[in-house]
Symmetry: C2
């Protein structure tokens, strides 16, 4: 799957993933009004609003980027109805030729991680029949439980030719609270925990290689460019999924260290900055009705920002 993602990045010339993380306050009023009119102010109404919003944005951006990243929490907040909208979104994006990175951050003891892996990436046996669940192309995985919480995902990736991104250094302000703690490595040298996790990502990834990168990637926040540089060298074959661009504070110039010299090796996520672009002053001219056009313009601006930053690092 990493090879397919790289092919998509090459084709679009955009190492960009659009985060489909809808909250109702991002959904334009005319969409909310219609959905609530049909289903009431209920979970079903909310889910319908989110789904219609997503569909319009996907239609507007699907030729510009290789991938989308729905954040499952934003659907799970609406209970079962929200997860139906998540499933519709995944299916629709795949129909449109987009690679879907399910931002689920799952991770548990072995047998439980296996259930998550099967439900999100693989197939589950029901009697003599194999059934597919959410069927994303990649998912994000939390490493706190160690190898036996991650390896069941890798096994399913090998079987299904899919991939994962393991949390290494997250984009949020308090990510350092545990991830930056200095620990001793095998040589007795003190290093931050995220480097140790990064080394494990490289080791896990060796079991699941694509042509030039591994199907086991890493999540490293755009908000920590210096750590990105170090992790880029610790995990040379891991593709880095970079959240935190835009609304969380990351800028194009912060991103260059996440990429290899050939311009590959990273894919940058923006969520709010794209899906709620129409609410920003610089895209206000599109108007609420044309929110999807504003999203398209925001993708193009982000592509330009990253392209310039990569060109400028010379």
């Amino acid at each position: 799957m990493i090879d397919k993602l790289i092919a998509g990045i090459r084709k679009t010339q955009a190492p960009i993933v659009v985060g489909l993380d809808p909250t109702l306050k991002f959904v334009p009023e005319h969409i909310r009004r219609k959905a609530f009119g049909e289903y009431g102010e209920t979970m079903k109404g909310a889910a319908e609003a989110v789904w219609q919003f997503n569909r319009a944005i996907v239609d507007a951006i699907c030729d510009l980027v290789p991938a989308v990243k729905p954040q499952i929490a934003m659907y799970e907040q609406f209970g079962v109805e929200g997860l139906i909208a998540f499933q519709k979104t995944v299916d629709y994006c795949r129909e449109k030729g987009l690679i879907v990175i399910g931002d689920v951050k799952r991770g548990d003891i072995g047998s439980t991680s296996e259930a998550y892996a099967v439900g999100h990436l693989g197939q589950v046996r029901v009697g003599d029949t194999l059934c597919r669940g959410f069927d994303e192309d990649f998912v994000t995985v939390n490493p706190y439980l160690g190898s036996d919480g991650v390896k069941p995902f890798i096994k399913v990736c090998q079987e299904e030719k899919k991939g994962i991104f393991v949390l290494v250094k997250t984009s949020n302000p308090s990510s350092g609270e545990f991830q930056d703690r200095l620990v001793k490595d095998g040589d007795g040298k003190e290093r931050p925990l995220y480097e140790i996790v990064g080394e494990q990502v490289a080791a896990w990834g060796a079991e699941c290689m694509g042509a030039s990168y591994s199907n086991v990637g890493a999540v490293v926040g755009a908000t920590y460019p210096e750590q990105g540089r170090i992790l880029r060298s610790i995990m040379p074959k891991a593709f880095i999924l970079v959240p935190g661009y835009g609304a969380q504070g990351g800028r194009g110039a912060d991103l260059v260290h996440f990429f290899h010299e050939d311009g590959l090796g990273a894919i940058v996520n923006s969520s709010r900055g794209i899906i709620a672009a129409y609410q920003q002053e610089q895209y206000a001219r599109y108007g609420e009705e044309n929110f999807a056009d504003a999203s398209r313009a925001a993708v193009l601006a982000m592509k330009e920002d990253i392209t310039q930053a990569l060109a400028a690092r010379g």
Copy 2:
């Protein structure tokens, strides 16, 4: 909610939570046959089998224990249909007076954790209406992202009088890979990461106290009794949810350090050992048809084991 849990433990004299972690291989053939007959070998058929299985077990054990812990991965593996069965299970258990600990191990950046917290413990605003999602009483939370990934859960706990259990030292074999790494604390002393996380649990918990324990508890595996003893003293007001009893190798004698002298402070989970008791030699006499009676007998045996172990520590 911790006060309600403690009241339930006192009433039943059983510091036990039954893990409702059904895989299809635990579900007796007559239930599978009926469900697949009705809905085919589909996700819906699987979800129906799981739900009927759960309901019979809940009916058989609901007067013996204060709480159940459905592991959401075991439902999520069946996609949306599985999550409908999860919701039915949560609702049914609460109707029966059981406290529901959703074993979801969620955790993300602040705004995303907020969506999980709202979806699992709280209420989400849809237009002018507040709607409830999965509505468990407690959930488990992964701390890898630090305070801003945990605090949104605590905020919802305060509003809704609910609780969380934060992963500190998990029960699985490779939990030590990151959790046991020696890190320097504030005084420059080297201590394992799980102790640092435990201290944070104590600090977070101070913001969300019940009468004698906090609504912010911790997960510490039965398979690590010595670490349990240390964590018990680091987090004196945190209730400890202890997985790993039974099938994962933990025994009653391993558990005593997780409890305070007054016999409170911990609640022990068993999943397979109870829900699939009928598949074990010692309960084979019940027969597959009477699987729920075997589960009831297994709960009584576990209660006896823990009671004896606590009495014996003198």
